[in-house]
């Protein structure tokens, strides 16, 4: 059943630009893919690895800024800028993870948060690259090979490909030796160490992989809007990503993707699609979309604790 649903979704996604070539929908869908990628990367660390990191925006932001800086400095090739950005995000994850993973529980949450905020302030002060106003890019990176990233349709497919690779990669990883251990560590860290696993090293590896994937999402995010600003590193962004993962289903393969789609879809729905009976009571409601989003999120936490993907899981083992 799962296989057919996935295949059907993939076919739909591939066909989508042909059916709806308008820029707005393509752009919106691309944005969903990018956030789905970011949320999936967080899901690896958070859902599978059990590491409640409140600083994941730091890696997304690193990817976004490094790739943008390359463009701003005149290096137009995506083949140089993008891998460099992902590598930078992985490095950031290595450093932040190496320090943070020495702590537990709420202290881990706080330290990851602190590091993300540090990066936020650092980037905010980089006047050369826009400071708090952000950096606008003249064009997207060039990929050569006849692929024009400037086209919304092409970008859509690139984002879709990135997401598909990430989800497939997560699927393979979850069933690999590494995936088994990481989930065991999430379940009972002390015992994992006591049967001989080098827990710290394994968690760090998981953290770095998640950071690198987050960096890729950041690259695409900056590229998508041709704009990046320090807010992408703010803790509320980490919070939003976390909300997407929790919404979609923590530790479930499609949790990040489903959560991002639901969150952004909900936001868009409320803001752009007028519902008359609500408007009759409350004329301006669409300007206050986030209240509706917040209410729905709250309802989900209180009444559907397993998230959306969880609700469809029908008793499968997590």
């Amino acid at each position: 059943m799962r296989r057919y649903a996935t295949a059907a979704a993939l076919v739909l996604a591939l066909a989508f630009p042909l059916a709806a070539p308008e820029s707005y929908y393509l752009s919106f869908a691309s944005r969903i893919f990018v956030y789905a990628l970011a949320a999936t990367s967080l899901n690896l660390a958070l859902g599978y690895g059990g590491m409640i990191s409140f600083g994941h925006a730091a890696f997304v932001g690193t990817g976004a800024y490094v790739s943008s800086i390359f463009l701003a400095e005149g290096v137009a090739s995506a083949w140089i800028g993008w891998p460099a950005a992902v590598a930078a995000a992985a490095l950031a994850a290595l450093v932040i993870g190496a320090v943070s993973l020495r702590t537990r529980g709420v202290y881990f949450i706080m330290i990851t948060l602190a590091f993300a905020q540090m990066m936020y302030f650092l980037v905010n002060s980089m006047k050369a690259y826009g400071g708090d106003e952000g950096l606008t890019l003249p064009a997207r990176a060039s990929a050569g090979l006849g692929v024009d990233l400037g086209s919304d349709a092409v970008f859509y497919y690139v984002a879709l490909a990135a997401l598909a690779c990430a989800v497939y990669g997560l699927h393979r990883l979850a069933h690999s030796r590494f995936g088994r251990v990481i989930q065991a560590i999430r379940e009972n860290e002390a015992r994992a160490e006591a049967i001989g696993f080098p827990v710290y090293r394994l968690k760090l590896a998981c953290f770095v992989i998640a950071g690198a994937a987050g960096g890729l999402a950041g690259v695409l995010l900056a590229s998508h809007g041709k704009y990046v600003n320090p807010n992408v590193l703010h803790w509320t962004q980490s919070g939003t990503l976390m909300v997407m993962v929790i919404l979609g289903g923590v530790g479930r393969l499609w949790g990040g993707a489903v959560g991002a789609t639901a969150y952004l879809g909900l936001e868009d729905l409320v803001a752009n699609h007028r519902v008359e009976w609500i408007a009759s009571v409350f004329p301006n409601y669409q300007q206050h979309a986030s209240l509706g989003v917040g209410a729905v999120l709250l309802a989900i936490v209180l009444f559907a604790p397993q998230g959306i993907a969880g609700a469809f899981a029908r008793g499968r083992r997590a």
Binding site: F178, G179, R191, L202, A318
Partner: protein, 247 residues
Amino acid sequence: MLELSNVSKRFGGVVATDGVALDVRRGEVHALIGPNGAGKTTLIAQIAGDLSCDSGAIMFEGADVTRAPQHERVRSGLARSYQITSIFRRFSVLDNLALAVQARSGSSFSFWRPVAAEPALANEARALAAQIGLAGREEAGAATLAHGEQRALEVGLALATRPKLVLLDEPLAGMGPEESQAMIALVERVRSEVAVLLVEHDMDAVFRLADRVSVLVSGRVIATGLPAAIRADAGVRKAYLGESAAA
């Protein structure tokens, strides 16, 4: 095989372990007994690496492991089981054991190849399940097991790492008579392959299994010797006055 010299640990003002000297010989079952609060679990934790010692040395197979991290001690053959069951509750029995097998065989930094492609892990896990008396229960979720079965899995996890010396912390805790017999039989089965340091309150088990017995009182070893000698020792009897012991 295992040698402790002058091992000490304190928590704030409380001295939990006070200059303990202890040794375990190859092939022996060495029981560690003592009244409640004597510090037996704390000592086990220090030997295994869950806790660090404040002072003293722990030598295992000739190597100094006093500062070695726990997972390294396990890799060199020193494993423990826990008094309070600590298993992977959301995994099946088979997956629990397969994990331990995975830990000791090859690297876990393998991200692509599915575990299912390694039948050796599952096969060895199945054999282990049979050895610990859980044949037929492999697919059961660990959380659904009865208490005795969980204790068997608890010990099984330690044994799955193919240790040279295993530290069993009250394996019979909370068990009824039938389950206790099964656990004692399990220790009898494995004693030829692995040395055992056994912490127990159940004196029946202790005197059936032990080659030697050490008595821990208030963090100090007050006596070590053959079971019969310990049984007769006046100091030991005094320490146990008031404790219900099947003497």
